[in-house]
């Protein structure tokens, strides 16, 4: 049986960040990827917040990364059946490098990242699926991939949100609908100039637009739009539990079609050409959804460890994957130096995560899933906002009422107490 220092399952961001870091430390790492190339099975909304992970790489590392556009404009749109209210936020500091976040496309990005890892000395095998772990004396001692046994001192499972490797090894339970959402999106191609004109962007700069309200028809979730170089990523993220339970039932792809037909959205994507339709599951349980991080001879990183955070206005996962991959590699380096790959030796990984933004942010926002899981955010507030703005902007034949009175007409005593109650519930985040 061929044997490696480290076998990494999955060439996503966690796996590749780990492979790169290990290779730089002179540790032999084999990355096994089931797709034709790194990124072939990976999907993002998506944007990557780069600032939190810059510290883990050389300063010039990202210079040639295939980013799409830096996000310099943030738009939030609240939708009801009849209207939409948007807030557009631009900060002058967002306009200049170092940019804090970029839109990305995973097939391009992960392929580039894979090349960086390979360039540093990591080994990458594509088109090979890991089917099982090899156990020796109660410790993980390698993997079985494509019928072949590959030994390893330590296995780093970066096999994504479902982490079937962990499940098969009884290291985790199958996921539950209440802890996950599904994201599905279209890549819609448009000329560069058209994108910049439609979103009022300087050349090369990008926008991120989030949609909430009636588009999910009462389901937890929302819509998103990111500008790429020559395409838009337009999609939705919806709670799997709500897709199963909320009445009247509607099929996920129909929700997206109806969202696209809204005039506010149709105007943004008009004349675009569909290039791809993709979907991916997202861990949404936050802190309580964090899975096992390590065991004897094994570590988990990225989505496979449940490291992802939705706090409403921002949804983050990719930088958690990158950081946890790097920190897993550092923990492995320490275990390598001690020549001890037991759970006790690998437990330093948890400390490294706790000292990093990964577990700190997840801890800070540990109540977020609970607070956000409030149907009022998806129906009541967008409608209240829409109604008030409609009244303020409408002119009929009758004389117009005062502005304060117009607002008060829409806000009963019970509305105000309800808002205060939600605000009180939200204090934990």
């Amino acid at each position: 049986m061929e044997k490696f220092d480290v076998v990494i399952v999955g060439a996503g961001l966690a796996g590749l960040a780990a492979a790169y870091t290990l290779a730089k430390d002179g540790i032999e790492a084999l990355v096994i990827e089931r797709g034709d190339y790194p990124g072939a099975k990976n999907v993002t909304g998506g944007r990557l917040y780069l600032n939190p992970v810059r510290q883990y790489f050389p300063a010039d590392f990202w210079d040639n990364a295939p980013f799409e556009r830096p996000v310099t404009t943030e738009i939030v749109t609240m939708m009801t059946q009849e209207n939409a209210a948007s807030m557009r936020f631009q900060a002058l500091e967002f306009n200049n490098p170092p940019y804090q976040s970029y839109s990305v496309q995973r097939s391009k990005f992960d392929r580039w990242f894979g090349n960086q890892a390979a360039g540093a000395g990591a080994m990458l095998v594509s088109k090979s699926r890991v089917d099982d772990l090899i156990w020796e004396n109660g410790k993980v001692a390698g993997v079985i991939a494509g019928g072949e046994e590959l030994g390893a001192n330590v296995v780093l499972a970066c096999d994504g949100v479902l982490s079937l490797v962990a499940e098969k090894a009884k290291l985790r339970e199958p996921g539950k609908p209440e802890d996950f959402a599904v994201g599905f999106k279209e890549i819609i191609e448009l000329p560069e100039k058209t994108i910049e004109d439609r979103f009022n962007l300087l050349p090369g700069q990008g926008a991120a637009q989030l949609f909430m309200g009636s588009l999910t028809q009462g389901r937890f979730g929302g819509g998103f739009l990111y500008t790429n170089k020559t395409s838009l990523s337009l999609g939705m993220v919806v709670s799997i539990r709500d897709l199963m339970e909320k009445q009247p039932p509607i099929e996920a792809p129909v929700l997206l079609e109806e969202f696209k037909q809204r005039p506010e959205v149709a105007a943004l994507i008009g004349d675009g050409e569909l290039a791809e339709y993709s979907a991916h599951v997202i861990p949404e349980a936050g802190y309580k959804g964090i899975g096992r991080l390590y065991g004897d001879g094994i570590l988990f990183a990225g989505d496979a460890a449940g490291l992802s955070l939705n706090i409403g206005l921002t949804v983050r996962g990719m930088e958690f994957a990158i950081a946890s991959g790097v920190l897993a590699a550092r923990a492995i380096k320490q275990a390598f130096d001690r020549n001890d790959y037991s759970a006790a030796s690998l437990s330093v990984y948890q400390q490294l995560l706790q000292n990093s933004f990964v577990l700190k942010d997840m801890q800070t926002f540990k109540e977020a899933p609970h607070v956000l899981d409030n149907p009022r955010f998806f129906t009541y507030y967008p409608e209240l906002m829409g109604n008030i703005l409609k009244d303020l902007y409408s002119f009929g034949q009758e004389p117009k009422e005062g502005l304060v009175r117009t607002v008060r007409n829409r806000l009963s005593f019970s509305d105000i107490t309800g808002i205060l109650k939600d605000a009180w519930g939200g204090r934990k985040i």
């Binding site: 089931r34 993002t44 599904v182 791809e276 339709y277 991916h280």
Partner: protein, 94 residues
């Protein structure tokens, strides 16, 4: 895209590599399971449908490998694994 296109047409834009084996199998006896019926609503690729006998059927052609159906239904109802290495959807954008 001013006109709405069908889901099948939409999936036609993706690159898929055929696998000899179907990677999703409804566990025999679970075809009428109420939970399985919900797969019809959750699958972003619309691969589940209810036939005239009230059985749920699945086709894996066009599967985006997201795993939503597996989370919705659980392994007691769906025997679900990723397709073989080098087969299935190969995203060009992602």
């Amino acid at each position: 895209m001013s006109r709405s296109i069908s889901l099948k047409e939409k999936l036609g834009f993706n690159v898929f590599k055929h696998s000899a084996e179907s990677h999703i199998r409804i566990i025999p006896g679970a075809e009428k399971n109420e939970r399985l019926k919900l797969a019809v609503y959750v699958c972003p690729a619309g691969l589940y449908s209810l036939n005239e006998n009230g059985d749920v059927t699945v086709t894996v052609d066009g599967c985006l490998e997201c795993g939503t159906c597996r989370i919705a239904c659980g392994p007691e109802i769906l025997d679900w694994y990723y397709p073989d290495g080098g087969t299935g959807v190969q995203f060009r954008f992602g």
